[in-house]
């Protein structure tokens, strides 16, 4: 049996550590060779993309229909790529686990999409969007990629408008913009609170047009379970038809993963129920490096957990922080009181107190951590879950007094309605309760400037890759990146790879295909035959608790070591004791979940190792050992200005996880100067 049970305890927990040199994770990994991006041209940053587009070789239109491309995922990054490559005349096969491409979780994005159109003439530019994105990412992204993102952002708006995306408009008929996420220019385009939905429907319709044209074939309710690598090149996938259970082989000249983020490793997150890491993780196991997996974004304004039945968390737009004031009682004794009975003098508006200049508008990671701190102190509000109240008040009382109820309703009515529907409370009368939740992951598969992973022929777009957001993503930039990758970047870069195709014909008898199919089949068989005593969800929930506790808003050396041990034990137990009912030959939602949780159980360990290695605080990653005297995040550019690209290390005995290999890509900034953040 190969890649299943993993009982090996690799890293050495008894580590005796020269911590100040930034090698906390010694014993948990093997040092590897440095890695670098070889595709970004030299020269001024503003000319690199033009140069690359010119140098990337062209594929003759007549040859395109002989080239097959598999795209996994149909969100903004996958749907847009399928449409565009289909339009160009390639043969595209598109896969999603949902019943329609239109369901992908990009649809849930509320706020908007950034673009450097400078329609407001307020000093915005490609360079400023680039600058804000690199700074927001705490100087942990690759500058060439970010510059290109800012550059193509303007094309996205043109394309979407032409597709019929109904963006908000002013009375003169031109597009409206708003300021978002604390930036000082108005560059965010939006469609009420449903921007992701409207952009996704645009990409979906463009893709369906290509399905009708015969260039895109769509496979809904199909899940990629293995990557096929032949002679070092990605040549296809093994997928399971979720309705019939059939294990299928799909071969191609290139494979694109646009399969989204892995926030569901925390069990509770704002991701969709089905969002998972399996496509990325199977590719990682086949040689694709996973970069900065510990970089997660935790969003401060979500609706708190109400009990152990909770299946997911719901985000409310952080625009609420523009007018709402965040507080908890000064005294623990007041925490179970009706908030309306707590006088002003007994309330602690802690963000306004600690950060007088930014107040309630501090960046997401700071607001989140501050909420956790006051709850850890025992001053949280709302129902107790597992003995702790995890919530803080977001109070519109002052705003309603100042602006009037109608004005507040006009601005935030839909969010208030959503809150009322979920909690049964009326936020016009009693303060809302909020708590942070995992929302987005900046980490993902390592890609070069061409969005190609460390496996030739395997490309990665959107949230699934790591490249553009560094250690923290700005609001309204996820939609921008997904569409930039799919519409305007990948279609140009992939041709330089495909021009050498079509590659040698292979069929199902090829040993690499046989091996990949066997691996999928044996995992399915193992999961169904274990017949243990614990449900898949119970493992997932326990993993989520470990990750949230030790690899969430604040991480420490001791906590991460403990988490790694706990995850290894849990993973071992999972493979011995999981209970999955039903058969492989039909729709079996427990089996689907089991496969995903199995991969989360490996990813979680790597995230902790990555977090343990990075003994600095940057963006969404806060290490307790790396803070200023005031408790603010402290970066260490001298030691950690690199991308941590992890290669899967297989344990030779069990075939399970062994020591991962760390490849470092140094981050060099030529167009921007590195600075330490301050929001005091």
């Amino acid at each position: 049996m190969t890649d299943m049970p993993d009982t090996t305890l690799t890293g050495d927990p008894s580590h005796d550590a020269p911590a100040e040199h930034g090698d906390d994770a010694v014993g948990y990994y093997t040092p590897g060779d440095p890695i670098s991006d070889t595709k970004s041209p030299e020269g001024p940053i503003s000319e690199r993309w033009q140069t690359r587009k010119f140098e990337a070789r062209l594929v003759n239109p007549a040859n395109r229909r002989k080239l097959d491309i598999i795209i996994v995922g149909t969100g903004l990054a996958g749907g847009s790529a399928a449409a565009t490559l289909g339009e160009a005349g390639y043969n595209v096969k598109s896969f999603c686990y949902q019943d329609s491409p239109r369901r992908a979780h990009s649809i849930a994005a509320q706020g908007g999409i950034n673009a450097a159109k400078n329609y407001k003439e307020d000093g915005d530019s490609v360079h400023r969007l680039f600058y804000d994105t690199v700074k927001g990412g705490d100087y942990r992204s690759r500058e060439s990629n970010v510059y290109r993102l800012a550059e193509v952002s303007t094309n996205i708006i043109d394309q979407c408008v032409a597709q019929g995306v109904p963006f908000a408009r002013e009375y003169g008929g031109l597009l409206d913009n708003r300021s978002f996420g604390g930036v000082q220019v108005s560059r965010t385009f939006y469609a009420r609170g449903q921007t992701g939905q409207q952009l996704l429907i645009g990409a979906y319709q463009a893709m369906e047009r290509q399905v009708a044209a015969g260039t895109v074939e769509q496979f809904t309710r199909h899940e990629m379970l293995e990557l096929i690598v032949v002679d070092g090149k990605a040549r296809g996938i093994v997928a399971r038809d979720l309705v019939t259970g059939e294990i299928q082989t799909h071969l191609a000249d290139a494979v694109v993963l646009a399969s989204g983020g892995y926030g569901n490793v925390f069990y509770l997150s704002t991701n969709a129920m089905g969002s998972n890491v399996t496509a990325s993780w199977r590719a990682h196991r086949k040689g694709a490096y996973m970069a900065n997996p510990c970089y997660t974004q935790i969003h401060p304004t979500c609706i708190p957990v109400t009990g152990s039945h909770q299946s997911k968390l719901t985000l409310m737009s952080e625009s609420l922080r523009n007018d709402g004031r965040i507080w908890v009682p000064k005294s623990k004794a007041d925490c179970d009181k009706d908030p309306r009975q707590i006088p002003e003098a007994d309330r602690d508006y802690y963000l306004e107190r600690i950060y007088p200049s930014f107040g309630n508008l501090v960046p997401r990671d700071i607001a989140s951590r501050a909420a956790k701190n006051v709850c850890d102190e025992g001053r949280g509000v709302g129902p107790e879950v597992d003995g702790v109240r995890r919530g803080v008040y977001l109070d519109f009382g002052a705003a309603i007094e100042r602006l009037g109820r109608d004005a507040v309703e006009e601005k935030y009515g839909n969010l208030f309605d959503m809150y009322a529907r979920i909690t049964g409370e009326n936020p016009y009368e009693t303060p809302m309760r909020i708590y942070p939740a995992v929302h987005y992951v900046m980490g993902g598969l390592w890609v070069d400037y061409d969005l190609q992973s460390s496996i030739p022929g395997l490309f990665v777009t959107g949230e699934a890759n790591f490249s553009d957001h560094g250690a923290n993503r700005l609001g309204a930039s996820a939609l921008m990146q997904g569409l930039a990758d799919g519409y305007f970047v990948l279609p140009h870069t992939i041709r330089d790879y495909l021009v050498d195709g079509p590659f040698e014909k292979i069929d199902e008898s090829h040993p690499a295909v046989v091996e990949a199919r066997r691996s999928v089949q044996s995992r399915v068989d193992h999961l169904l035959s274990t017949n243990g005593t614990r449900s898949v969800d119970s493992y997932h929930r326990e993993l989520g608790n470990i990750m949230w506790e030790y690899c969430g808003m604040e991480r420490s050396e001791d906590g991460l070591r403990k988490a790694i041990d706990l995850i290894r034990t849990l993973r071992d137990d999972f493979w011995r004791n999981v209970k999955v009912l039903g058969t492989a030959e039909s729709l079996n939602q427990s089996l689907e979940k089991a496969g995903r949780v199995a991969d989360f159980l490996e990813l979680g360990e790597l995230m902790c190792i990555d977090a343990l290695n990075r003994r600095e605080s940057c963006g969404g990653h806060f290490r307790a050992e790396s803070q200023t005297e005031d408790g603010e995040a402290l970066r260490h550019d001298d030691q950690f200005a690199y991308v941590a690209a992890w290669e899967f290390g297989s344990d030779p005995d069990s075939g399970g996880m062994g020591l991962p290999v760390l490849h470092k890509e140094d981050l060099v900034y030529t167009a921007i100067e590195m600075k330490q953040r301050s929001y005091k």
């Binding site: 032409a162 019929g164 409207q198 039945h309 299946s311």
Partner: protein, 247 residues
């Protein structure tokens, strides 16, 4: 609270289905309806019984994947999606009947899961604007009156869940089609293909086995996004115009 659930169980498309009864205790009013079913499924797994298959993904009311007939109403008693329905809409001792969407054009896959592929095929038949990536003009080159943009947006909020079809005595998808035809038809960018779009979509709709509209209005009453009935008038208007133009 304690509820009695009567749930449609059907192993696969080819088999006969039947209603099964389950008692569920310890339901909290803060649970969403689907979390209540999660709890039932955990119980079933513990007892060694096959859990109930149902669709859901975002669980925040926007992806359109979930959808159940609850006591005969599409998405249940509130104007929202099934995932946003909470157990506080029910009371202790209630009997709750749960069935899949009912429509010939949405065949049952298993238990409460249906196949809505017909909706994708209707969109493929014309529910788009033909503009290849990179060929779009500058976004501000065509101003769109604000009211038109708002009207387009209001109907573009359709989530493709299929409640309109499930609620309709005729199993018609006219509201779904009308929403798309109106969304694109309100915008200047949608004009060149306005005739071919409506003709193509309606032909596909009929070929899929959806029924015709007889202006009953159950669709709009069930719609979680409150798409108004007049999009169907717009659909008919556009169809007649297209036929008059010789399509």
């Amino acid at each position: 609270m304690k509820v009695t659930l009567k749930i449609w169980r059907q192993p696969d498309a080819a088999s006969q289905g039947a209603m099964h009864t389950y008692e569920l205790d310890g339901v909290s009013e803060d649970m969403s309806f689907l979390e209540m079913l999660d709890v039932l499924n955990e119980d079933l797994v513990a007892r060694g019984e096959d859990p109930v298959a149902f669709d859901s993904d975002c669980r925040e009311g926007i992806c359109g994947m979930c959808g159940l007939m609850i006591n005969g109403q599409a998405h249940g008693p509130e104007v929202t999606t099934t995932c946003q329905l909470h157990m506080r809409s029910f009371k202790d001792g209630d009997e709750i009947v749960i069935e899949p969407w009912r429509a010939d054009a949405f065949p049952v896959v298993k238990d409460l899961v249906v196949d809505r592929g017909a909706f994708d095929r209707i969109i493929q038949a014309g529910g788009y604007i033909s503009v290849n990536t990179g060929s779009a003009p500058e976004a501000h080159s065509v101003p769109v009156p604000r009211d038109d943009a708002v009207r387009a947006f209001n109907v573009a909020t359709c989530i493709g869940c299929g409640a309109c079809v499930a609620a309709c005595p005729n199993g018609s998808a006219s509201l779904f089609m009308g929403a798309k035809v109106t969304h694109l038809g309100e915008l200047p960018q949608g004009q060149p293909e306005r005739d071919s779009r409506v003709v193509g979509m309606v032909a596909q709709h009929d070929a899929e086995g959806f029924g015709g509209c007889t202006n009953i209005g159950e669709c709009t009453a069930a719609c979680p996004k409150e798409i108004p009935l007049d999009v169907i008038s717009r659909l008919n208007w556009d169809l007649h115009a297209a036929l008059r133009h010789g399509h």
